[in-house]
Symmetry: C2
Subunit: 265 residues, 2 copies
């Protein structure tokens, strides 16, 4: 199975993108709702959580791991590859940066994400490296957007004002491409487009990540054969409340059964 983990239920936007691109494979999803969010925490703590989540997924049948959470991906993907050398890992930063470099004309890329993602500096350094110094990333941490999405305030006046405030410095810098660098932001896509302007290309990191997995499977028939195609997805979380169920429906666009597992001591 394709294993996928996230800080919580935000990663369901990646599942949604998967269902459009690599619909035939079975997914094993783990959302660490008991310790979410990740975007406010240190890279050291995120690395510890990412290892534990990976171990859980591997123990329950995952053969490759998708790190859906941008914060965990920025903090841990490189180290996870070293710690589990036989397991393919799919982060979100590289595919999102590649999509942004392909989209930008003036080389000025904006990034919106959590505090942890922005603090990691990964988008900046990958863009520098992958573009040979031609593309620069300007980033803004948007810590209020995850709670707003989780509350379902997707179209409220407050959310609009807060997004306008967040993208203001990116407009001022003249970015022509904006990376939505958090699993929750696809639900705010049209608001972002409206506030940053129609001339700016938006890169959805969830879509970019799903495309990178599809690309890998198309080019690695041995992996494509290994994976189950029974198409039986399973969703596990470390904590469960009625609100998480509601948010899951909002993010995936369809109802899903979340199973609670005992996780952590």
């Amino acid at each position: 199975m394709i294993g996928i983990f996230d800080s919580g239920i935000g990663g369901l936007t990646v599942v949604k993108a998967f269902r459009e691109l690599v619909a035939e494979y079975s997914l094993l999803y783990f959302g660490d709702t008991a310790r979410m969010p990740y975007g406010t925490k240190s890279s050291e703590t995120l690395l510890r959580y990412a290892r534990q989540n990976t171990e859980w997924l591997l123990a329950h049948g995952a053969q490759m791991i998708v790190v859906a959470c941008n914060s965990a991906s920025a903090a841990a993907t490189v180290q996870l590859r070293k710690a589990f050398p036989d397991v393919p890992f799919f982060g979100v930063v590289t595919p999102a940066v590649e999509a942004a470099i392909a989209a930008t004309k003036n080389g000025r890329i904006g990034l919106v994400g959590t505090r942890a993602t922005v603090a990691s500096g990964m988008y900046e350094s990958y863009a520098e490296k992958l573009s040979g110094g031609k593309a620069k990333v300007v980033s803004v941490a948007c810590p209020l957007l995850v709670p707003l999405v989780e509350e379902g305030w997707l179209d409220s006046g407050e959310t609009k004002r807060i997004i306008r405030k967040y993208v203001h410095p990116l407009r001022a810098k003249g970015v022509d491409t904006l990376v939505l660098g958090c699993t929750h932001y696809p639900l705010l896509k049209s608001l972002f487009q409206q506030k940053i302007g129609n001339g700016v290309a938006l890169v959805d990191s969830a879509e970019a990540q799903a495309a990178s997995v599809a690309h890998f499977l198309n080019n690695h028939p041995e992996w494509e054969k290994k994976l189950s195609k029974k198409k039986k997805d399973a969703f596990y979380v470390s904590d469960l409340t009625p609100q998480f169920q509601k948010t899951a429906l909002r993010l995936l666009g369809e109802s899903v059964t979340l199973h609670k597992v005992d996780f952590g001591k």
Copy 2:
């Protein structure tokens, strides 16, 4: 020492209230920043966290435990008293309800708190019990306020609008008393007063809790003697980022050194 735990650094508002009322005692503070916030999580998970935090504090010299977090207090104080029968526990719900009953004239008490605190129904049932059925609690979950305080948006237009929206149903119900049932809300006290109206009495749960500890110590000289009066406070957290340090300064009103401990597996 007096042990005190919270989901994160919000409990520093309780420390601040302590310093005014029981300033001579040493405090041992533990903030579970690696797993915060608590207000969005289930009572089962909060009980598990509360037990672990209590064990940590007792192992590090605490003789009594203050559960600063309203969400943890509502979910776990009763069970903690059963699990650790020799340890005095101080929750926040009972003192806050007592203060609200003393303040209300029309018996209509409003409560603002996290989703977990409101979902517990503890404020409602304690108010019913302690007032002999005379006082009723109307509650509103305000999940966006903790992130707004942690971001330092204490006086922004968005925060004002959001608070107005939250207190609207409480105004409509004619409450004459409002319990600020979360460690973060003392920083929004004047905004709450402004939006709910000057005629409404505000009860700060952090102050009510500190007063209940002071009352206990004044009436239990054996405990008063047992506790260290060297006045050496120590602050531990399960995760540490620059943002947590900033928030600590904001909540306590003075600079404090946070020490990170390895916690959880």
